[in-house]
Symmetry: C2
Subunit: 222 residues, 2 copies
Protein backbone atom coordinates (compact mmCIF):
# COMPACT_ATOMS: atom_id res chain seq x y z
CA UNK A 1 0.00 0.00 0.00
CA UNK A 2 1.24 3.46 -0.88
CA UNK A 3 2.48 5.64 1.97
CA UNK A 4 0.55 8.80 2.62
CA UNK A 5 2.18 12.03 1.50
CA UNK A 6 3.03 14.22 4.46
CA UNK A 7 0.78 17.27 4.67
CA UNK A 8 1.93 20.38 6.51
CA UNK A 9 -0.45 23.15 7.63
CA UNK A 10 1.61 26.31 7.20
CA UNK A 11 1.69 29.34 9.45
CA UNK A 12 2.43 32.81 8.12
CA UNK A 13 5.57 34.52 9.41
CA UNK A 14 5.78 38.15 10.40
CA UNK A 15 5.75 39.98 7.10
CA UNK A 16 8.68 42.32 7.62
CA UNK A 17 11.03 39.46 8.44
CA UNK A 18 10.37 37.83 5.10
CA UNK A 19 13.30 39.36 3.21
CA UNK A 20 15.74 38.35 5.95
CA UNK A 21 14.41 34.79 6.04
CA UNK A 22 14.55 34.59 2.25
CA UNK A 23 18.23 35.62 2.23
CA UNK A 24 19.05 33.01 4.88
CA UNK A 25 17.44 30.29 2.73
CA UNK A 26 19.38 31.42 -0.34
CA UNK A 27 22.67 31.36 1.60
CA UNK A 28 21.90 27.89 2.93
CA UNK A 29 21.09 26.51 -0.53
CA UNK A 30 24.23 28.12 -1.98
CA UNK A 31 26.42 26.64 0.77
CA UNK A 32 24.94 23.20 0.12
CA UNK A 33 25.18 23.46 -3.68
CA UNK A 34 21.42 23.16 -4.10
CA UNK A 35 19.32 24.95 -6.71
CA UNK A 36 15.90 26.15 -5.52
CA UNK A 37 13.36 27.31 -8.11
CA UNK A 38 10.02 28.97 -7.29
CA UNK A 39 7.44 28.06 -9.96
CA UNK A 40 4.47 30.41 -10.32
CA UNK A 41 1.55 30.56 -12.77
CA UNK A 42 -2.20 30.83 -13.21
CA UNK A 43 -4.24 27.79 -12.23
CA UNK A 44 -4.18 25.29 -15.09
CA UNK A 45 -1.08 26.60 -16.88
CA UNK A 46 0.61 23.25 -16.44
CA UNK A 47 2.93 23.63 -13.43
CA UNK A 48 2.55 20.02 -12.31
CA UNK A 49 2.71 18.52 -15.83
CA UNK A 50 5.84 20.57 -16.55
CA UNK A 51 7.50 19.43 -13.34
CA UNK A 52 6.59 15.78 -14.00
CA UNK A 53 8.23 15.81 -17.43
CA UNK A 54 11.24 17.75 -16.10
CA UNK A 55 11.73 15.26 -13.25
CA UNK A 56 11.47 12.24 -15.58
CA UNK A 57 13.89 13.64 -18.16
CA UNK A 58 16.41 14.96 -15.61
CA UNK A 59 16.89 11.62 -13.90
CA UNK A 60 20.60 12.28 -13.39
CA UNK A 61 19.62 14.61 -10.51
CA UNK A 62 17.86 14.12 -7.18
CA UNK A 63 14.87 16.43 -7.22
CA UNK A 64 12.52 17.55 -4.47
CA UNK A 65 9.20 19.34 -4.90
CA UNK A 66 7.21 21.31 -2.34
CA UNK A 67 3.63 21.31 -3.56
CA UNK A 68 1.71 24.32 -2.25
CA UNK A 69 -2.04 24.29 -2.45
CA UNK A 70 -5.01 25.72 -0.63
CA UNK A 71 -6.13 22.29 0.51
CA UNK A 72 -5.72 19.64 -2.22
CA UNK A 73 -3.01 16.98 -2.20
CA UNK A 74 -3.30 15.16 -5.55
CA UNK A 75 -0.30 16.94 -7.10
CA UNK A 76 2.13 15.73 -4.45
CA UNK A 77 1.26 12.11 -5.29
CA UNK A 78 1.64 12.79 -9.02
CA UNK A 79 5.08 14.31 -8.39
CA UNK A 80 6.22 11.41 -6.24
CA UNK A 81 5.15 8.91 -8.88
CA UNK A 82 7.35 10.81 -11.35
CA UNK A 83 10.34 10.00 -9.16
CA UNK A 84 10.90 13.08 -6.96
CA UNK A 85 10.85 13.58 -3.21
CA UNK A 86 7.61 15.38 -2.46
CA UNK A 87 5.78 17.17 0.30
CA UNK A 88 2.36 18.80 0.35
CA UNK A 89 2.12 22.25 1.93
CA UNK A 90 -1.28 23.68 2.80
CA UNK A 91 -1.33 27.45 2.96
CA UNK A 92 -4.51 27.56 5.06
CA UNK A 93 -6.37 29.56 2.45
CA UNK A 94 -3.51 31.95 1.85
CA UNK A 95 -2.79 32.93 -1.72
CA UNK A 96 1.00 32.70 -1.73
CA UNK A 97 4.14 31.18 -0.19
CA UNK A 98 6.64 33.19 1.83
CA UNK A 99 10.15 32.40 3.07
CA UNK A 100 8.97 31.18 6.48
CA UNK A 101 6.66 28.71 4.76
CA UNK A 102 9.49 27.57 2.50
CA UNK A 103 11.66 26.94 5.57
CA UNK A 104 8.92 24.85 7.20
CA UNK A 105 8.65 22.87 3.97
CA UNK A 106 12.43 22.34 3.74
CA UNK A 107 12.58 21.07 7.31
CA UNK A 108 9.68 18.69 6.88
CA UNK A 109 10.64 17.36 3.45
CA UNK A 110 14.35 17.04 4.25
CA UNK A 111 16.92 18.62 1.93
CA UNK A 112 19.70 16.01 2.25
CA UNK A 113 20.97 14.69 -1.06
CA UNK A 114 18.81 16.92 -3.25
CA UNK A 115 20.30 18.74 -6.26
CA UNK A 116 17.22 20.71 -7.30
CA UNK A 117 14.21 21.78 -5.24
CA UNK A 118 11.11 23.20 -6.89
CA UNK A 119 8.49 25.17 -5.01
CA UNK A 120 5.19 24.74 -6.86
CA UNK A 121 3.55 27.91 -5.60
CA UNK A 122 -0.22 28.50 -5.32
CA UNK A 123 -1.83 28.96 -8.76
CA UNK A 124 -2.13 32.75 -8.83
CA UNK A 125 -0.40 35.52 -10.81
CA UNK A 126 -0.89 38.27 -8.25
CA UNK A 127 0.09 37.40 -4.69
CA UNK A 128 3.00 34.96 -5.17
CA UNK A 129 4.85 37.63 -7.17
CA UNK A 130 4.90 39.88 -4.10
CA UNK A 131 6.55 37.48 -1.67
CA UNK A 132 10.17 36.33 -1.73
CA UNK A 133 10.18 32.58 -1.05
CA UNK A 134 13.94 32.31 -0.64
CA UNK A 135 14.35 30.52 -3.96
CA UNK A 136 17.38 31.64 -5.98
CA UNK A 137 15.45 31.44 -9.26
CA UNK A 138 11.88 32.62 -9.95
CA UNK A 139 10.06 31.12 -12.88
CA UNK A 140 6.60 31.55 -14.34
CA UNK A 141 4.64 29.44 -16.79
CA UNK A 142 2.32 31.14 -19.28
CA UNK A 143 0.11 28.76 -21.24
CA UNK A 144 -0.83 29.63 -24.81
CA UNK A 145 -4.64 29.54 -24.18
CA UNK A 146 -4.29 32.34 -21.59
CA UNK A 147 -3.24 34.76 -24.31
CA UNK A 148 -0.15 36.75 -25.29
CA UNK A 149 -1.43 39.80 -23.37
CA UNK A 150 -0.89 38.37 -19.88
CA UNK A 151 2.49 40.08 -19.31
CA UNK A 152 0.77 43.43 -19.83
CA UNK A 153 -2.03 42.50 -17.41
CA UNK A 154 0.09 40.99 -14.61
CA UNK A 155 3.42 42.82 -14.97
CA UNK A 156 4.93 42.19 -11.53
CA UNK A 157 5.28 38.45 -11.95
CA UNK A 158 7.20 38.99 -15.19
CA UNK A 159 9.41 41.60 -13.54
CA UNK A 160 10.49 39.22 -10.78
CA UNK A 161 10.91 36.07 -12.89
CA UNK A 162 14.25 34.94 -14.33
CA UNK A 163 12.63 32.29 -16.52
CA UNK A 164 9.35 32.23 -18.48
CA UNK A 165 8.12 28.93 -19.93
CA UNK A 166 5.45 29.47 -22.57
CA UNK A 167 3.60 26.14 -22.31
CA UNK A 168 0.97 24.29 -24.37
CA UNK A 169 2.54 25.31 -27.70
CA UNK A 170 0.94 22.15 -29.14
CA UNK A 171 -2.35 24.12 -28.96
CA UNK A 172 -0.92 27.15 -30.80
CA UNK A 173 -3.02 26.52 -33.92
CA UNK A 174 -6.30 26.80 -31.97
CA UNK A 175 -5.56 30.15 -30.32
CA UNK A 176 -4.59 33.61 -31.53
CA UNK A 177 -1.20 33.81 -29.89
CA UNK A 178 1.56 36.05 -31.22
CA UNK A 179 4.89 34.59 -30.06
CA UNK A 180 6.98 37.62 -31.02
CA UNK A 181 4.55 40.05 -29.40
CA UNK A 182 4.52 37.93 -26.25
CA UNK A 183 8.32 37.87 -26.05
CA UNK A 184 8.57 41.62 -26.63
CA UNK A 185 6.01 42.24 -23.86
CA UNK A 186 8.03 40.06 -21.48
CA UNK A 187 11.37 41.67 -22.45
CA UNK A 188 9.90 45.14 -22.00
CA UNK A 189 9.20 44.28 -18.36
CA UNK A 190 12.33 42.22 -17.84
CA UNK A 191 15.07 42.37 -20.51
CA UNK A 192 17.06 39.58 -18.82
CA UNK A 193 14.23 37.02 -18.71
CA UNK A 194 14.98 33.71 -20.43
CA UNK A 195 11.95 32.64 -22.47
CA UNK A 196 11.38 29.04 -23.60
CA UNK A 197 8.51 27.72 -25.73
CA UNK A 198 7.51 24.22 -24.67
CA UNK A 199 4.76 21.66 -24.63
CA UNK A 200 4.78 19.65 -21.43
CA UNK A 201 2.30 17.33 -23.10
CA UNK A 202 4.37 16.42 -26.20
CA UNK A 203 7.86 17.34 -24.97
CA UNK A 204 8.43 19.85 -27.79
CA UNK A 205 11.00 22.49 -26.81
CA UNK A 206 12.07 20.59 -23.70
CA UNK A 207 15.69 19.97 -24.78
CA UNK A 208 16.53 23.66 -24.69
CA UNK A 209 14.80 24.17 -21.33
CA UNK A 210 16.45 21.12 -19.74
CA UNK A 211 19.90 22.11 -21.00
CA UNK A 212 19.46 25.56 -19.51
CA UNK A 213 18.43 23.95 -16.21
CA UNK A 214 21.52 21.69 -16.30
CA UNK A 215 23.63 24.81 -16.72
CA UNK A 216 22.03 26.36 -13.63
CA UNK A 217 22.75 23.22 -11.59
CA UNK A 218 26.38 23.27 -12.75
CA UNK A 219 26.73 26.91 -11.68
CA UNK A 220 25.46 26.09 -8.20
CA UNK A 221 27.53 22.94 -7.67
CA UNK A 222 30.79 24.13 -9.22
CA UNK B 1 -10.75 61.57 -30.31
CA UNK B 2 -11.84 58.93 -27.88
CA UNK B 3 -12.46 60.02 -24.27
CA UNK B 4 -10.20 58.50 -21.68
CA UNK B 5 -11.72 55.84 -19.48
CA UNK B 6 -11.96 56.98 -15.87
CA UNK B 7 -9.47 55.18 -13.66
CA UNK B 8 -10.09 54.90 -9.93
CA UNK B 9 -7.36 53.98 -7.43
CA UNK B 10 -9.20 51.93 -4.82
CA UNK B 11 -8.71 51.94 -1.08
CA UNK B 12 -9.39 48.90 1.05
CA UNK B 13 -12.12 49.18 3.67
CA UNK B 14 -11.89 47.85 7.18
CA UNK B 15 -12.23 44.12 6.73
CA UNK B 16 -14.84 43.34 9.37
CA UNK B 17 -17.28 45.84 7.91
CA UNK B 18 -17.26 44.10 4.56
CA UNK B 19 -20.30 41.89 5.12
CA UNK B 20 -22.38 44.85 6.26
CA UNK B 21 -21.34 46.94 3.27
CA UNK B 22 -22.06 44.03 0.95
CA UNK B 23 -25.60 43.67 2.31
CA UNK B 24 -26.23 47.41 1.87
CA UNK B 25 -25.18 47.18 -1.79
CA UNK B 26 -27.46 44.18 -2.38
CA UNK B 27 -30.40 46.02 -0.80
CA UNK B 28 -29.73 49.09 -2.93
CA UNK B 29 -29.56 47.06 -6.16
CA UNK B 30 -32.73 45.19 -5.23
CA UNK B 31 -34.61 48.43 -4.50
CA UNK B 32 -33.51 49.83 -7.88
CA UNK B 33 -34.30 46.65 -9.82
CA UNK B 34 -30.69 46.21 -10.87
CA UNK B 35 -28.86 42.91 -11.27
CA UNK B 36 -25.23 42.88 -10.12
CA UNK B 37 -23.01 39.93 -11.07
CA UNK B 38 -19.48 39.35 -9.78
CA UNK B 39 -17.39 37.56 -12.44
CA UNK B 40 -14.33 35.66 -11.20
CA UNK B 41 -11.82 33.38 -12.94
CA UNK B 42 -8.16 32.59 -13.55
CA UNK B 43 -6.24 35.02 -15.72
CA UNK B 44 -6.90 34.22 -19.37
CA UNK B 45 -10.13 32.23 -18.89
CA UNK B 46 -12.00 34.69 -21.06
CA UNK B 47 -13.81 37.06 -18.68
CA UNK B 48 -13.55 40.07 -20.98
CA UNK B 49 -14.34 38.14 -24.19
CA UNK B 50 -17.38 36.58 -22.49
CA UNK B 51 -18.61 39.97 -21.30
CA UNK B 52 -18.10 41.53 -24.74
CA UNK B 53 -20.24 38.88 -26.44
CA UNK B 54 -22.85 39.02 -23.68
CA UNK B 55 -23.10 42.83 -23.96
CA UNK B 56 -23.43 42.72 -27.75
CA UNK B 57 -26.08 40.01 -27.76
CA UNK B 58 -28.09 41.45 -24.84
CA UNK B 59 -28.56 44.85 -26.47
CA UNK B 60 -32.10 45.13 -25.07
CA UNK B 61 -30.52 46.00 -21.70
CA UNK B 62 -28.33 48.81 -20.43
CA UNK B 63 -25.21 47.21 -19.06
CA UNK B 64 -22.38 48.58 -16.93
CA UNK B 65 -19.05 46.91 -16.25
CA UNK B 66 -16.55 47.65 -13.48
CA UNK B 67 -13.19 46.40 -14.73
CA UNK B 68 -10.88 45.53 -11.86
CA UNK B 69 -7.20 45.10 -12.56
CA UNK B 70 -3.90 45.49 -10.79
CA UNK B 71 -2.90 48.35 -13.06
CA UNK B 72 -3.91 47.76 -16.70
CA UNK B 73 -6.79 49.55 -18.43
CA UNK B 74 -7.13 47.92 -21.86
CA UNK B 75 -10.17 45.85 -20.87
CA UNK B 76 -12.28 48.89 -19.95
CA UNK B 77 -11.83 50.28 -23.48
CA UNK B 78 -12.71 46.91 -25.03
CA UNK B 79 -15.87 46.78 -22.92
CA UNK B 80 -16.91 50.31 -23.84
CA UNK B 81 -16.44 49.58 -27.53
CA UNK B 82 -18.84 46.65 -27.09
CA UNK B 83 -21.52 49.12 -26.01
CA UNK B 84 -21.51 49.11 -22.21
CA UNK B 85 -20.87 51.81 -19.64
CA UNK B 86 -17.42 51.10 -18.26
CA UNK B 87 -15.07 52.11 -15.51
CA UNK B 88 -11.56 50.93 -14.69
CA UNK B 89 -10.82 50.15 -11.05
CA UNK B 90 -7.23 49.73 -9.90
CA UNK B 91 -6.85 47.61 -6.78
CA UNK B 92 -3.40 49.00 -5.97
CA UNK B 93 -1.78 45.57 -6.14
CA UNK B 94 -4.54 43.91 -4.13
CA UNK B 95 -5.70 40.54 -5.33
CA UNK B 96 -9.46 40.95 -4.94
CA UNK B 97 -12.44 43.32 -4.80
CA UNK B 98 -14.43 43.93 -1.63
CA UNK B 99 -17.76 45.66 -1.01
CA UNK B 100 -16.20 49.03 -0.21
CA UNK B 101 -14.36 48.95 -3.52
CA UNK B 102 -17.59 48.02 -5.33
CA UNK B 103 -19.30 51.01 -3.73
CA UNK B 104 -16.53 53.35 -4.88
CA UNK B 105 -16.88 51.92 -8.38
CA UNK B 106 -20.70 52.31 -8.37
CA UNK B 107 -20.41 55.95 -7.28
CA UNK B 108 -17.81 56.79 -9.88
CA UNK B 109 -19.38 54.89 -12.79
CA UNK B 110 -22.93 56.00 -12.03
CA UNK B 111 -25.70 53.40 -11.70
CA UNK B 112 -28.59 55.41 -13.19
CA UNK B 113 -30.44 53.63 -15.95
CA UNK B 114 -28.46 50.39 -15.77
CA UNK B 115 -30.24 47.02 -15.82
CA UNK B 116 -27.21 44.78 -15.31
CA UNK B 117 -23.85 45.57 -13.72
CA UNK B 118 -20.94 43.18 -14.01
CA UNK B 119 -17.91 43.33 -11.73
CA UNK B 120 -14.98 41.85 -13.64
CA UNK B 121 -12.92 40.85 -10.63
CA UNK B 122 -9.12 40.44 -10.56
CA UNK B 123 -8.02 37.29 -12.42
CA UNK B 124 -7.42 34.98 -9.47
CA UNK B 125 -9.22 31.88 -8.13
CA UNK B 126 -8.14 32.28 -4.52
CA UNK B 127 -8.64 35.72 -3.00
CA UNK B 128 -11.77 37.00 -4.80
CA UNK B 129 -13.69 33.96 -3.54
CA UNK B 130 -13.11 35.07 0.06
CA UNK B 131 -14.54 38.58 -0.22
CA UNK B 132 -18.21 39.48 -0.61
CA UNK B 133 -18.40 42.24 -3.24
CA UNK B 134 -22.08 43.02 -2.66
CA UNK B 135 -23.12 41.44 -5.95
CA UNK B 136 -26.31 39.40 -5.77
CA UNK B 137 -24.91 36.73 -8.10
CA UNK B 138 -21.43 35.21 -8.10
CA UNK B 139 -20.19 33.61 -11.27
CA UNK B 140 -16.97 31.92 -12.30
CA UNK B 141 -15.55 31.05 -15.70
CA UNK B 142 -13.52 27.87 -16.12
CA UNK B 143 -11.81 27.54 -19.48
CA UNK B 144 -11.34 24.09 -21.00
CA UNK B 145 -7.51 24.37 -21.28
CA UNK B 146 -7.25 24.82 -17.49
CA UNK B 147 -8.52 21.27 -16.97
CA UNK B 148 -11.55 19.55 -15.46
CA UNK B 149 -9.77 19.17 -12.10
CA UNK B 150 -9.87 22.85 -11.16
CA UNK B 151 -13.00 22.57 -8.96
CA UNK B 152 -11.13 20.05 -6.81
CA UNK B 153 -8.07 22.32 -6.57
CA UNK B 154 -9.85 25.62 -5.87
CA UNK B 155 -13.04 24.51 -4.11
CA UNK B 156 -14.06 27.76 -2.38
CA UNK B 157 -14.76 29.66 -5.59
CA UNK B 158 -17.11 26.89 -6.73
CA UNK B 159 -18.84 26.83 -3.35
CA UNK B 160 -19.66 30.54 -3.49
CA UNK B 161 -20.65 30.74 -7.18
CA UNK B 162 -24.24 30.50 -8.42
CA UNK B 163 -23.16 30.19 -12.06
CA UNK B 164 -20.24 28.41 -13.73
CA UNK B 165 -19.50 29.10 -17.40
CA UNK B 166 -17.21 26.46 -18.89
CA UNK B 167 -15.61 28.50 -21.67
CA UNK B 168 -13.46 27.75 -24.76
CA UNK B 169 -15.43 24.59 -25.62
CA UNK B 170 -14.31 25.17 -29.23
CA UNK B 171 -10.89 23.91 -28.04
CA UNK B 172 -12.35 20.77 -26.44
CA UNK B 173 -10.79 18.46 -29.06
CA UNK B 174 -7.26 19.63 -28.23
CA UNK B 175 -7.47 19.03 -24.47
CA UNK B 176 -8.33 16.07 -22.26
CA UNK B 177 -11.42 17.52 -20.62
CA UNK B 178 -14.16 15.31 -19.19
CA UNK B 179 -17.40 17.36 -19.19
CA UNK B 180 -19.35 14.95 -17.00
CA UNK B 181 -16.53 14.64 -14.48
CA UNK B 182 -16.20 18.43 -14.37
CA UNK B 183 -19.93 18.90 -13.73
CA UNK B 184 -19.96 16.25 -11.02
CA UNK B 185 -16.97 17.91 -9.31
CA UNK B 186 -18.77 21.25 -9.38
CA UNK B 187 -22.08 19.79 -8.14
CA UNK B 188 -20.31 17.98 -5.31
CA UNK B 189 -19.13 21.37 -4.01
CA UNK B 190 -22.30 23.24 -4.89
CA UNK B 191 -25.38 21.21 -5.88
CA UNK B 192 -27.31 24.37 -6.85
CA UNK B 193 -24.71 25.75 -9.27
CA UNK B 194 -25.98 26.38 -12.81
CA UNK B 195 -23.36 25.15 -15.31
CA UNK B 196 -23.25 26.34 -18.94
CA UNK B 197 -20.85 25.18 -21.65
CA UNK B 198 -19.97 28.03 -24.00
CA UNK B 199 -17.45 29.38 -26.45
CA UNK B 200 -17.13 33.14 -26.21
CA UNK B 201 -15.12 32.98 -29.42
CA UNK B 202 -17.69 31.17 -31.61
CA UNK B 203 -20.88 31.88 -29.62
CA UNK B 204 -21.67 28.18 -29.16
CA UNK B 205 -23.86 27.60 -26.10
CA UNK B 206 -24.61 31.31 -25.66
CA UNK B 207 -28.37 31.06 -26.23
CA UNK B 208 -28.90 29.02 -23.10
CA UNK B 209 -26.66 31.29 -21.01
CA UNK B 210 -28.28 34.49 -22.29
CA UNK B 211 -31.79 33.15 -21.70
CA UNK B 212 -30.88 32.28 -18.14
CA UNK B 213 -29.49 35.79 -17.69
CA UNK B 214 -32.73 37.30 -19.09
CA UNK B 215 -34.62 35.26 -16.49
CA UNK B 216 -32.46 36.71 -13.70
CA UNK B 217 -33.10 40.26 -14.94
CA UNK B 218 -36.85 39.56 -15.01
CA UNK B 219 -36.76 38.31 -11.43
CA UNK B 220 -35.05 41.49 -10.26
CA UNK B 221 -37.24 43.92 -12.17
CA UNK B 222 -40.60 42.23 -11.60
Amino acid sequence: MEDDIKIIELKQNVFKENEVNADIIREECKANGQLMINVMSSPGSGKTTTLVRTIKELNEYNIGVMECDIDADVDAYTIREAGARSIQLHTGGMCHMDAGMTKQGMNEMGMDGLDIVFIENVGNLVCPAEFDTGASINMTILSVPEGDDKPAKYPLIYEVCDIVLVNKIDAMAVFDFDKDLCVSRIKELNPDAKVFFVSSKTGEGFDEWLNYLRGLVNEVTS
